[in-house]
Amino acid sequence: VSRIAAAVALIAAATPGEARADETEILDGRYGFSARMRVGAAAAPFYVDGLPEARSEFTQARTFVLAAWIDAGRYSIGARLPAAPSTVRQPAGSYADEKSVGNPELFVEGAPWRGAAGPAAITVALRLGVGAPLADHGDPDTLIKSRALAISDALDGWLDRELYVPGVLPITGSLWITAATSSFELGARLKAPALIRLNNASLPPDTRTRPIGLTPSALVRAALTAIPRVEIAAGAWAVISAPAPVELPDGRDGAVQPGVEGRITARINAALRLFAEGALPIGGPLDGTATLGVGASWRYP
């Protein structure tokens, strides 16, 4: 009950423009805050001989991302703070609770071009993020924190790998293009994180880490205001992880991960939105992962 209460309080305190869908909203002279929690079953490739997979079933695999931003004239600046608490499945069938944190990210965002095409307002937004290489990979004897990070990475469908890969300095550029009418919005995002290796994150010495890992992704999403105050969105994505930050035990150099997502957003008032979402990687390295999530966003004024 206390956890549910804490989650409700967190959501109540949270803010607008959920990170991926509404990023361009932060450019309108506002400041805001958002929080998102995902739970689910996760099966993610891992990097260590004998531990080819990081798994968690519905047993408390979670990821939290807090984002906050302020308007700074032509640009907005903000931060994302990922947390990765997870119940990690062990080889013999027990589980280990682990709490880890990912790479905090500072970002700058701007909209260099806005225009119109018929009835649709077109916005092009750019974001540059730099992560602090603080992801907590923990003890080399257990690698449980590393696996908790991999599980949270999977729960996000590898769309935010810059937040969860340990031992790297992430530099991420992204481009949003949206076309919006009063009741319909179509958006596409291209994102290109470069994960610059700083250390081997306590992985075994024979693990083949890459000096630079690239995980570009494309995401398209359509959102429709179906009934007043309620928005339904659906999207699809693909992530290419090549070269992968760490070579997989089977020797693969990279992988492609497609997936689909859906979301229902309730506009409580002008400032507050609540949403529920689901994501399903299709095939690929994350096959077997399924995610449900809730979140809230708030903006002011």
Partner: protein, 317 residues
């Protein structure tokens, strides 16, 4: 995962339940650091290349085996010279510091792992545990604190060091297979014990009852017993119910005197009705959420299920 498991686990997660009994603490890094990095350093082998066992390691065979997916297992115990195992409590022996207990797992002649329990100090909680993964060339085995998933292609997974407490942590003795009940009168070694337990240590009942009581003791009693140490601490494999399958030296007069009959009959075991017995349902499953035992096995022990069914069918309703 079956749909049933997913629904059940999703509901648990949504309700914020993480006091889940499958959750075990991770291994203590200090204890891991105190244990040898390779099997050749443990003293089990006089010559690991030739497979010659050290004379300090005494092989033993429990009367009732833990099911390990049909693994072939060998066991040895090494007690420091001059030290003795305190048998004051005949059901929960106290092992001297320095005791090392080994169990080697093979499948179709392929050695996969050798597990080590080591008493690192005099205290009850001073046990360290880790497994050693055999190298492909058989020259030695290396400590794998993380465990390993199917490292030899046999389908057998090596547990992480923290998982050992899932079974062994259910008894104060920590060692499960080296006990008065498990050794029986023929294997009790006076050189290693402060006092040899008296009595014939015969498990009561007809052969079917003996087989059932012994199997439940070895496979279920380590978790399902009413003398678990550290109550209120980690939920690790603590069923937190009144079931008790642990055989006790002073309660071997008849099957009805055993904790199994006292606690399970009429509860998880419906006399005369195997199909209506929850015990049969659980041991017949390897479903993530309903399987019993909950760890260390991916395959149902079909022979044991048949044996337990016959036992239940023979019980008077």
């Amino acid at each position: 995962l079956t749909v049933r498991s997913r629904i059940a686990l999703a509901m648990l997660a949504a309700a914020g339940c993480d006091d889940f009994f499958y959750v075990c603490p991770t291994a203590d890094p200090a204890k891991l650091a105190a244990m040898p990095a390779t099997l050749s350093e443990t003293g089990l082998y006089a010559d690991i290349e030739t497979g010659q066992i050290s004379p300090d390691a005494r092989e033993y065979q429990p009367r009732f085996e833990l099911w390990s997916d049909a693994a072939t297992k060998q066991r040895w115990i090494a007690v420091p010279e001059g030290a003795r195992i305190d048998t004051t409590d005949p059901d929960s022996w106290v092992f001297p510091a320095g005791t090392r207990v080994f169990k080697e797992f093979s499948f179709a002649g392929i050695r996969v792992e050798t597990r080590l329990l080591e008493k690192l100090g005099p205290g009850e909680a001073d046990w360290g545990a880790v497994s050693y993964r055999w190298r492909a060339d058989g020259s030695d085995a290396d400590s794998v604190a993380n465990g390993a998933v199917d490292p030899a292609g046999t389908g057998h997974d090596i547990p992480g060091a923290g998982e050992c407490a899932g079974c062994h942590g259910g008894r104060r003795s920590f060692v499960l297979g080296y006990s008065a009940i498990q050794l029986g009168p023929d294997q009790l070694d006076p050189e290693l014990l402060t006092e040899v337990p008296g009595g014939d240590l015969a498990i009561p009942g007809d052969p079917g009852e003996v087989a059932a009581l012994g199997y439940l003791h070895a496979n279920c009693g380590n978790c399902h017993n009413q003398e678990r140490p550290g109550e209120g601490l980690a939920p690790c494999m603590n069923p937190d119910n009144e079931l008790d399958f642990w055989l006790r030296v002073d309660r071997l007069g008849s099957p009805e005197q055993t904790p199994t009959y006292e606690t399970a009959i009429g509860f998880k075991v419906t006399p005369g009705d195997p199909d209506g017995s929850r015990l049969i349902e659980r041991v017949s499953s390897r479903d993530l959420f309903f399987r019993m035992p909950p760890l260390g096995s991916d395959r149902v022990d079909r022979d044991a299920v048949d044996m337990l069914r016959r036992w239940i069918a023979g019980l008077e309703p």
